[in-house]
Amino acid sequence: MSLTRRHVAFALLTWLPAAAVPVPAAALPQEAKPGDAPVVEAEHDPELEAQVRELASRLRCPTCRALSVQDSPSGMAQEMKDLIREQLKAGKTPEEITAYFVDRYGEWILLKPTAQGFNWTVWLLPVLLLAGGLFFVLMTARRWVEEGRARATALTEDGDEGGV
């Protein structure tokens, strides 16, 4: 694991500067012979990875604009993910890890505002609107039904709905 990770980190370090200098085409082998190396199993601990993904998708990638650490391909985000994975393996809880990032970056790094204080507006206003709207809609529908009853008694011969 750690060997692979270091490779990634190293490779990431090398491609960034490669941007400034055009990649010399000759530096890379044009066609490498596919050998018959054995198939390796992907490093995959589904439970841990799911936890990493969950945490990383709630943190904002600091070098990008409006992308989560999980979704960003940038080197910084990759390393943040490594850090999260490492800390989880070391037994830290997701809350502790989140608290660490908030401690260093501020509340800005959370993609989901914490439900406290003024932040309640962003969580509660939509719910209030929906609840109020539901009440309003039901009242309107009831008023229309009453209108229907009133008209039915007034004009028994006219059943046409368009007769307004």
């Binding site: 980190a9 190293f10 990431l12 370090l13 090398t14 960034l16 500067p17 941007a19 400034a20 600091p62 070098t63 080197g75 910084m76 390393e79 943040m80 490594d82 850090l83 990032f101 401690d103 260093r104 970056y105 501020g106 800005w108």
Partner: protein, 212 residues
């Protein structure tokens, strides 16, 4: 009649006011929670090949600068650092670079090309950068003699910022009270990380005010 104007205005004004406020604010600078707190210690290999700890530099004002060879804005501030390094040479002042998302070879070549005698540490897993809440380069922390982060500067450091903070920190032994929150705002809006900074003429910071 009054109502007829009041309702549209009552709906429109808050929206427009909010958007207007939004246009005034600077989306790119994010207040760091770090100023006023102890600087986090780290031990890391330097470009020169030895090992350096931040705690070794206690008793000195440290300007901790995150940079990379691929960062265009870093070129401008590098000239400021060279001047400052020379100007504060006999005082308790130490420049310290952290190489961010870059290979040691590229970083070494860059320093050779542009000069500068101070050490830079390598941060291969970006752990130092994450610890310091770095968004991108260049970002610079001004650390007091007793190890407090007094101020974080996002974007290229200008001579004015450099002189102001280093002078203050040199004059003060205790850094805890000296934070950006004591009524000081950074001069001007800081630049985006990637974008080229406007050309700031590098002056010898004699005229720099604030020297007590």
């Amino acid at each position: 009649m009054f109502k007829k104007i009041l309702i549209p205005a009552a709906v429109t004004l808050p929206v427009v006011a909010l958007l207007y406020y939004g246009m005034q604010r600077d989306v790119r600078t994010i207040e760091s929670p770090l100023p006023g707190r102890m600087a986090f210690d780290f031990t890391a290999p330097t470009l020169a090949g030895d090992t350096l700890s931040l705690s070794d530099l206690e008793g000195q004002v440290v300007v901790l600068n995150f940079w990379a060879s691929w960062c265009i804005a870093c070129i401008d501030e590098h000239r400021v650092f060279i001047e400052a390094d020379r100007y504060y040479a006999d005082q308790d002042f130490q420049m310290l670079g952290v190489v961010y998302q870059d290979s040691p070879e590229n970083a070494r070549r860059w320093m050779r090309q542009r000069g500068g005698e101070w050490p830079s540490v390598i941060d291969p897993n970006s752990r130092i950068a994450i610890d310091y809440g770095v968004y991108g380069v260049p970002e610079t922390y001004f650390i007091s003699k007793d190890g407090y982060i007094a101020y974080k500067h996002i974007g290229p450091v200008t001579p004015q910022v450099m002189v102001k903070w280093v002078d203050r920190l040199l004059a003060e032994d205790r850094g805890a009270e000296l934070t950006a929150t004591d009524g000081d705002v950074p001069e001007g809006r800081s630049q985006g990380h990637v974008r080229q900074a406007p050309d700031v003429p590098v002056t010898t910071p004699e005229s720099g005010g604030g020297r007590p």
